[in-house]
Structure formats: structure tokens, C-alpha cells
């Protein structure tokens, strides 16, 4: 490193402003956006669960036939899994500095996708199935 290190940077790099990580504020922003949607979805979901908690199977099945309920319940795992994947990524980056870091980050992503996919599969079956 001799004179001015900034001479090594192209103007495009400065314009993009993404630094060494190659990503900007999306992680932060998406965490906040999903936090916001989580609040709305949580309020709906808690009310739904309280209404359903003592109901027999047939009533629960009937509730899912309502498209609004099916749609809202389906948004819960979508919003949650994006948010929790981002959150857990930060936790892993903070504490794991060994060779486990990459495998754990991969497992984290797979887990979040699995949770979302399994929930959506179940909700689709409940809403459209016989």
C-alpha cells in the first residue's frame, strides 16, 4: 500500500457504495420491513388462535375454507421465515468464527425455507383439499 488507497477504487465502486461485503443495507431494511409485517400478522394470528383454541376439528377445517383466513395465515410463515433467517444470520456471524460458520449459515437458510414451505403446503391442503 503506497500513496492513496482510494486510487485503487473505480468510480463505479464508489457509486454502488456496497463496500467489501458486496451488499448494502438490504439486510437491515428487510429485517425492519418483515418486523413491521410480523406485527400485523401476529395480531391477526393471536386472535385467530384464541378463537380456535377450544374448537373441534371440523370448525378449524371450516375456518381455513375462508380465503381471507387462508391468505392471512399463509402470510405468517412467509414473513416470519424471512425475518428469522436474517436474524439468525446475525447471531451466527456474531458468535461463530470457526469452520462451522458456513455450514450453520446454510442450515439456517434451509431451515427457514423448510418452515415456510411446510406451512404453505399444509395451508394449501387445508384451503383447497377435500
Amino acid at each position: 500500500m503506497s500513496a492513496d488507497p482510494f486510487k485503487m477504487r473505480t468510480p463505479l465502486r464508489r457509486v454502488r457504495g456496497l463496500g467489501v461485503s458486496g451488499s448494502g443495507t438490504e439486510h437491515f431494511w428487510l429485517q425492519r420491513m418483515t418486523a413491521l409485517s410480523n406485527i400485523a400478522l401476529i395480531l391477526f394470528f393471536v386472535v385467530f388462535l384464541v378463537a380456535m383454541h377450544d374448537e373441534p376439528y371440523a370448525v378449524v377445517r371450516e375456518a381455513f375454507r375462508n380465503p381471507i383466513i387462508g391468505l392471512l395465515v399463509a402470510l405468517v410463515p412467509v414473513s416470519f421465515s424471512i425475518h428469522m433467517r436474517l436474524g439468525m444470520e446475525i447471531v451466527i456471524e456474531d458468535y461463530v468464527h470457526s469452520t462451522w460458520k458456513l455450514p450453520l449459515r446454510i442450515i439456517n437458510t434451509f431451515f427457514a425455507v423448510l418452515i415456510a414451505a411446510a406451512s404453505l403446503f399444509a395451508i394449501a391442503k387445508l384451503s383447497f383439499g377435500a
Binding site: I39, V50, V73, G87, M88, A122
Partner: protein, 129 residues
């Protein structure tokens, strides 16, 4: 990680800090986030059970209706509400408010009070309904 052992000053370990409400709520926000993460497995179980049929659903219902199941739901609901109020606190900070020492300490205490109060209110409603 670098193996260099130099005389650089290291940041002191956790145990050296005096307990503060803001520090406690910061830790709790992280712990509740991880707890919610793991607990989504139960959410999926309930949905898959409902989708699988009356028999599978009756197993899940029996668990969530049992003492252990109710205890789990009670703790999970507090964890969720606490994390939600903690998240709201983050929104306030992100918009540049309540960053002074007094305000942030007050907000940390308010988060705990709000989460406990709303959890109790929620279960009062469950009990009545």
C-alpha cells in the same frame, strides 16, 4: 481468525459490566428471537396436523391442551410479545428518538412491563373466552 498474540487492548468480557436494564433487554431481545425461531417448529406441527386429518389433529390438540402444552404456549406468547415490543423500541431508535441514557433505560423497563401486562391480558381473555 488471526493467531497474532499482541499487546493490543482487548475488550473486557461480559462479566465485568454492571447490570443495566438496557443491556438486559438487549440480551433478552436476542434470546427471544432465537426462541421464536426454534418454536416455529410447533407452528408447523399444528398446521400439518390440521392438514393431515382428525387423528393427527387430536394428538396436536391434546399436546397444546395439556399442562406442558399450555405452559409452552404461555411462555411462547410472552416471548413473542416481548420481542414485538422490543422490535417497536428498535423502530423508535431507527427514527432517531429516545437515544439518551434516561430515555433508553425507561424504554427498556417499559418494554418489560408492556410484554408482561399484555401476556397476562391475553391469557385472561383465553380463560374467559
Amino acid at each position: 481468525m488471526s493467531d497474532t498474540k499482541s499487546a493490543r487492548p482487548l475488550s473486557p468480557h461480559l462479566s465485568i459490566y454492571r447490570f443495566k436494564p438496557t443491556m438486559a433487554m438487549s440480551i433478552v431481545h436476542r434470546v427471544t428471537g432465537v426462541g421464536l425461531y426454534l418454536g416455529t417448529v410447533f407452528f408447523v406441527w399444528w398446521l400439518l396436523a390440521a392438514a393431515s386429518g382428525p387423528e393427527a389433529f387430536s394428538y396436536a390438540s391434546a399436546f397444546f391442551g395439556s399442562i406442558i402444552g399450555r405452559l409452552f404456549l404461555f411462555v411462547y406468547s410472552w416471548v413473542l410479545l416481548h420481542h414485538m415490543f422490543g422490535g417497536l423500541r428498535h423502530f423508535v431508535w431507527d427514527m432517531g428518538h429516545a437515544i439518551t441514557r434516561e430515555q433508553s433505560t425507561l424504554a427498556a423497563q417499559a418494554t418489560l412491563v408492556a410484554s408482561l401486562a399484555s401476556t397476562l391480558l391475553l391469557w385472561l381473555i383465553v380463560w374467559i373466552v
